[in-house]
């Protein structure tokens, strides 16, 4: 990133959250900072006989209340979440019609790993149960992982650079990096993020093959990364959408730059090769810090990937030590996702939302269900910790081997000090 490009810094001006902890930033942050847990039994229709017992479900989400009929019939639950979260992000940023200089000045980038499993299953059941005439035409678009970007673009008439990142769970961070790149290349505003709805029978069957999936039956014991009791991760649905703007565009319309997307890097080390993810994640951290012009000691909080698989947790702790040096033992590390579950691509985007809120509120949220950490990390457990974080490092790894790191600075921070 050159100095010239830095003059178009990408800043976060709005957060839209639809998560197991609640709908909207206020409910989400309250539960996150309280260290609450939204993990519970899987209650989605048709899932009760599955050997997956615990998940993070979004409750109380009435799609019909917030989305017009013509979008509802042609979209899956994961896109309903995306449309709702995008709306919340725009409202949170007070970004209205009048702020759209031209439809081409607003882009959309999302990431998705699970796609429209519920919609797709219904239509495939119609196909094999009744015949091809019973498959609706929207099957062609609804289950596609790109659906959310398209529908957000269509519904809001946003015609700027649009994209979809297929990068595993880490793709959530890559989507934000793609948005920041668009901003640096001249787009004023990008709606970006990820939402997932993987708690439908077909989607769950797909996940049952993951050795990393927690089969625990008790919500408070199902997802405990960095402990001796780690037994895998709990999946979740929901996600977050952010409004990322060019700093100058935000300033012109009087919007507050709440955080700066300062650096990002990604690597790939192969599916379920957790030991090798150490080097890949360390490299991603180093790359993200370099782009941000950030020394390791400047990192005030780490939002960990926290997979909950002993080998992967060890690799992450070692990657932090490799990339941050002695600072890795001092910097507060947190994984609030143990209270919501991992919503695949959306998990790191929710962490980014938490990181922005943590910097604003001066509070590092805790890691629910976790105590007795067995790694050389200062993991924030129990209660939220008062602090003045100005730089946050968010980490994500995917089950298929993608590693990403994102550096956020509080407010409209310059990229290097």
């Amino acid at each position: 990133m050159s100095g010239r490009q830095r003059s178009r810094r990408a800043v976060v001006t709005g957060l839209g959250v639809v998560a197991p902890h609640g709908i909207g930033v206020e409910a989400f942050w309250k539960a996150t900072v309280d260290g609450a847990s939204s993990l519970g039994p899987v209650t989605r229709e048709g899932c009760d006989h599955m050997p997956l017992r615990v998940a993070g479900e979004v409750r109380g989400f009435d799609a019909e209340e917030v989305i017009e009929g013509r979008y509802l019939v042609q979209t899956d639950r994961f896109t309903h979440f995306a449309l709702a979260a995008a709306e919340l992000a725009l409202a949170d940023a007070r970004f209205g019609r009048a702020d759209v200089e031209s439809p081409y000045s607003v882009g959309v980038v999302t990431a998705a790993g699970s796609g429209g499993g519920e919609f797709g299953q219904r239509e495939l059941q119609n196909l094999w149960g009744q015949g091809s005439r019973y498959v609706g035409p929207y099957q062609s678009i609804a289950w596609f992982y790109a659906a959310s970007t398209g529908q957000i673009s269509i519904r809001n008439d946003f015609k700027g650079p649009c994209g979809v990142v297929a990068g595993d769970e880490a793709g959530g961070l890559d989507a934000l990096a793609r948005a920041a790149l668009s901003v640096r290349q001249g787009t004023d505003t990008v709606v970006c993020g990820a939402t997932e709805a993987p708690l439908a029978p077909y989607s769950i069957v797909c996940q049952l093959g993951y050795p990393e999936l927690s089969r625990a039956t008790e919500p408070d014991r199902a997802y405990r990364p960095f402990t001796d009791a780690a037994c895998g991760f709990v999946p979740a649905e929901g996600g977050a959408v952010l409004l990322v703007e060019a700093e100058e565009a935000a300033r012109e319309r009087g919007a507050e730059a709440r955080a700066t997307v300062a650096g990002h890097a990604a690597t790939f080390t192969g599916a379920s090769r957790w030991e090798e993810s150490r080097a890949g994640l360390a490299r991603a951290i180093e790359g993200a810090l370099a782009e941000a012009g950030c020394r390791p000691e400047e990192v005030d909080v780490v939002f960990a990937d926290a997979l909950g698989v002993p080998e992967a947790d060890r690799a992450e702790a070692l990657a932090l030590a490799d990339a941050l040096g002695p600072h890795a033992r001092r910097v507060p590390v947190t994984a609030p996702k143990t209270g919501t579950g991992r919503a695949y691509c959306a998990a790191p985007v929710l962490d980014v939302a938490s990181a922005v809120l943590a910097m604003e509120h001066g509070l590092i949220p805790p890691t629910p269900h976790v105590s007795d950490v067995c790694h050389d990390l200062d993991l924030v457990a129990g209660r939220a910790r008062p602090a003045e974080p100005r730089t946050a490092l968010v980490l994500s790894r995917g089950l298929m081997g993608f590693n990403s790191a994102l550096v956020l600075r509080r407010g409209a921070a310059p990229s290097s000090e």
């Binding site: 017009e68 009929g69 013509r70 979008y71 019939v73 042609q74 609706g136 035409p137 929207y138 678009i141």
Partner: protein
């Protein structure tokens, strides 16, 4: 859905189908008054019309002409479907 004995599709039928298969709600009075307006003005896209054609083919048990899914207005669509129903059964 009941079979229609006279095999003629009405503006009310179209309104109902638009709502049920494409989630687009336009009441029959408005639809009749604006029968010459493009489907896109009501927010019905090409996949939406395709869904309506598929629904009608299921109901009547035979295929409609290919042009059906390319009709631009409610009036064109009803004329084509009702023409096909007269000759096609």
């Amino acid at each position: 859905m009941t079979d229609q004995l006279d095999y003629q599709m009405t503006i009310e039928d179209l309104s109902t189908l638009m709502k049920r298969t494409a989630g687009v709600h336009v009441d029959p009075v408005t639809l009749r008054r604006q029968a010459e307006a493009g489907f896109d003005t009501f927010g019905l896209d090409s996949l939406g019309l395709l869904g309506i054609v598929a629904e009608l083919e299921k109901r009547y048990g035979f295929g409609l002409p290919e042009q059906a899914e390319r009709c631009k207005t409610p009036a064109d669509f009803l004329a084509l479907v009702n023409g096909a129903l007269k000759t096609g059964v």
